[in-house]
Assembly symmetry: C2
Homo-oligomer: 226 residues x 2
């Protein structure tokens, strides 16, 4: 990488950081807890989000989501079935979301009416690591199908995680997943980071929902008949 | 993205293209067939490469590999067990390999002695798409565990593929993989691109080996007792 490119890139990053701080203040004032979901392509972000949105709704919480992709609006269509407000951010080839993209897609939404706002980043274990989106919590997903060594190979991303979700746990046996080795790799790059295991396709996300409610400081008030 | 950043990035790219053309001429003169392997993190590039190197050796071919990662030399150590010459390229946070990195890691290697040179790119479905490495063939891996929609969501990468490998086919049933939907997505962004199915962990890579030998114009001459 050339020094000049690096210098300009740092300028873009610090502009992003300033904007992310403004977003963070805005989210705090509105009382909305914001989650930035990052992972490789295919780690199960959208499947997790789909069930999370409907479960949160059933527990009496208001949630919305922004979903980032290089191309297609498929995820937004898929998530809209949950009944939650959803907007798609198409990055048109850019490998990460930026604070400005989040800000421009919030227009017209009443943030004070929300308990949770999820931001599903572009599937990429490198680029999104450097871009603060003003989130309250950054969550990195690692599917058991990807191999236990990924945290060691993508340390910046895992180091920046506030929480790691081990996803697709229902495939652990079929993939000969080594749980101990995965935890060791995660904690080697991010000592003490909490790890929660999920199997969203099988509906097993209880630990994740509990952490969301605890961190956001909200309690479940189940909606009758939902 | 700012116009100035874009302009400088284009400069870096065209410098890369020139260097890639030089590499391509050098590979052709040496008679070595070069494969650029790209995919998401965890699609099985290293596992495929491990068995490919030993199978090619058993079929009488000389092969070597360069392996790119943001951090760690684990893959080089793992692949060295195949007996093939291996070098690790640590990109130190950069999300793709560049032609200059390939060139600088070839020093001292006699390319004329090789039939195949594999370049395992950084696990990333976005950044490596724009960087020509002088390869003879670009191969994009898609694991059945990642979901059938990935070609639609990462069209630039799949569009640039000379060949798509569907990997981890042994997990197709456990993941409820929809073969027809996956082929439709691949061919929507890259009409007519050949697709080969593999299960490297189970030793099923015959179609892949046949394509390598056909494209490189070499024939198997099994090594007795290997």
């Amino acid at each position: 990488m050339k020094p000049k490119l690096l210098e300009i890139r740092q300028g873009v990053l610090s502009k992003n950081d300033r904007l992310a701080q403004e977003l963070r203040a805005r989210f705090a004032a509105a009382g909305v807890f914001v989650i930035n979901l990052v992972s490789s392509p295919g780690s199960g972000k959208t499947t997790l989000l789909e069930i999370t949105l409907s479960q949160l709704r059933a527990r009496g919480h208001a949630a919305a989501a922004l979903v980032g992709d290089l191309a297609t609006e498929n995820d937004a269509r898929r998530l809209a079935r949950s009944g939650a407000p959803i907007r798609q951010i198409v990055t048109d080839g850019i490998c990460h979301l930026e604070a400005a993209m989040v800000a421009s897609h919030l227009e017209g939404w009443d943030l004070t009416a929300l308990d949770f706002l999820f931001v599903e980043n572009v599937g990429n274990l490198v680029c999104p690591a450097s871009y603060d989106l003003g989130e309250s919590m950054r969550v990195v997903l690692l599917a058991v199908t990807e191999g236990e060594d990924k945290p060691l190979k993508y340390p910046t991303m895992f180091h920046s995680a506030d929480l790691v979700l081990l996803t697709k746990m229902d495939l652990a046996q079929a993939t000969e997943f080594d749980r101990e080795q995965a935890y060791a790799a995660i904690h080697a790059v991010s000592p003490g980071v909490p790890v929660v295991e999920t199997a969203a396709k099988k509906g097993r996300i209880d630990g994740w929902l509990a952490i969301l409610e605890e961190r956001a400081g909200v309690k479940a008030t189940p909606v009758p008949g939902d």
